[in-house]
Symmetry: C2
Subunit: 329 residues, 2 copies
């Protein structure tokens, strides 16, 4: 009886373990070549029981930047587009708000004037459009925006500008026992509204920048209120700090696209054992956008100069990806 | 062939689905009675497919306070015992450190003098004993302490003072598709060293108080350094804030033991749908400790006065638990 049970359990395990073999391509939107081969070799190395690079499933932590890595980030971060749309709606309801230069510029859609307000102006714009309301109210506003807003040049919802090959990669890693995390400079409460549907990543696996919040009981009903004060900036050297704060473990794979991700990849890949560092290089002006060293958004200099010597893989969107976005719906 | 596969898959599923039926008691260390019945009824309500209170597994979030809820907290928080032991070791190596009154008192084991230094003194003690080193160094120091330190009255390692009935409860909830989180006023990096082994809770499901940290590259090697500045205090109204920050979802079950957990239970149980709020009442002087309204540690007033009317369940350690700690090893 015991032997038959063991045999049955093994058969069950075999049925439930994800099959990754030569016949099924786990990354069909990636062209065959050295980039794809390196990713697959890494996954096989850390998941082969008894192999020298084997990593237990609990430690298979993979971290992904969002803007420019999992979805597009041109001609502006999508969250900035949200802030501008919200500034328009807020000023339409309450013209007094246009007294603030950044709000006035945003509401008028005058990007030049908005950028001229500098960091202080942008901080004001974010404070007014993102705080002073409860977390539930904010989530609902983002949810409504996501449903209706259109990307200015691609002319479709922002959520349709997620990268198909990266979604495949997320699914592939999860099928191999990884937990997948988003580690973004973007606002954590902005992202959490959409990451489950977009990427299969639940709210508790999103690390991002945040505003301070406060717990209050209003007329007997508890709420959490978003305050106009920065709590945490999850960018550059803040990314390993955020990883340590939220995950408490050092990742074994990290994916980014700009120098804002440099420290995250450095922290991930400088630990002993098999490690994977990947940079998505936007070199595909025909299908998406082409930018790197001189871009104000997603600037990439150190990643290109130092990444290869550090063993990082540079993904060419043009050469390595069969498709970029899903077909418009 | 297809039918045989389906039959085999059903058999496999039956083997892997946790069996909760009348024959197997999922909470053997809990005495039968209304407390246990309420917990089991709640779990059955939220896990019964098609039932009016059904909650999808992804939303089955259960949060647990640690000190006094999952393990003991008398005669002092175990992390304070750690700080005192570390102060002794640090002053032995560097007597200069005894110039600080709190460090001097701690190193001398003089609790009265230590408490006399007040909040400022305790903050200094925590800063000196908990920061100024890397996260890896700190984790190793905690790991070493856990192995050797003994509880002053129970005369065994602190990790043997976890509550057996609560560990059963954690396992029972997880077997029913819950994710279990620790939401503690204690230091997150102190707790993360031990929660996996003690409670089956991985580091990324621990929310706690924290020091600020900084990413640095020292001689080419990246480290995260613990700074002597408070980052976040995860206590009282800070607990729902921490839950929102780290989990991003509202829990459906919350377990605490003191008024430091009041807001966490309030936030959890005031949402619509089936909700469970539980307070562990320390009323068992014979087997553990008895304290509530007048205690300096784990003071419980509002929970006793307002909890029952809010539908919270008060656990009597004396009456509801068959055992408290595991037998000494």
């Amino acid at each position: 009886m015991f032997r038959r049970l063991v045999a049955l359990l093994s058969l069950c395990a075999a049925l439930f373990v994800p099959a990754v073999n030569a016949q099924t391509d786990p990354l069909p939107s990636w062209n065959d070549g050295p980039t794809k081969a390196r990713i697959v070799a890494f996954v096989q190395a850390v998941t082969t029981p008894g192999g020298k690079d084997f990593v237990a499933p609990a430690d298979r932590i993979a971290v992904f930047d969002n803007d420019g890595t999992l979805w597009s980030e041109q001609p502006m971060y999508f969250q900035l587009a949200f802030a501008i749309d919200r500034a328009k709606a807020m000023v339409a309801k309450n013209p007094e708000l246009a007294k603030q230069p950044a709000m006035r510029a945003a509401a008028a859609g005058d990007m030049k004037a908005l950028l001229a307000t500098g960091e202080k102006g942008l901080a004001e714009l974010l404070a007014v459009t993102h705080t002073g309301i409860t977390t539930d109210e904010f989530a609902q506003i983002v949810r409504d925006w996501v449903k209706t807003a259109q990307h200015p040049t691609a002319k479709r919802p922002y959520t349709q500008l997620a990268f198909v090959p990266m979604r495949e990669l997320l699914d592939y890693l999860r099928a191999n026992g990884f937990s997948t995390w988003i580690v973004s400079g973007g606002g954590v409460e902005f992202l959490r509204v959409m990451t489950e549907e977009l990427y299969g990543v639940p709210p508790q696996q999103v690390v991002g920048s945040s505003a301070q919040t406060k717990y209050e009981v209003r007329n007997g009903k508890p709420v959490i209120v978003r305050l106009p004060k920065v709590d945490f900036v999850n960018d550059k050297a803040g990314k390993p700090v955020g990883i340590n704060k939220f995950i408490g473990k050092r990742p074994i794979a990290a994916f980014g696209n700009s120098d804002g991700d440099f420290e995250m990849l450095q922290w991930t890949t400088s630990a002993p054992g098999a490690r994977l560092g990947v940079i998505v290089h936007h070199d595909d002006a025909a299908r998406e956008f082409a930018y790197d060293r001189k871009s104000h958004i997603g600037q990439l200099v150190r990643g290109l100069d130092e990444g290869p010597a550090l063993g990082w893989t540079i993904v060419s969107m043009k050469d390595d990806w069969k498709s970029v976005w899903a077909a418009p719906r």
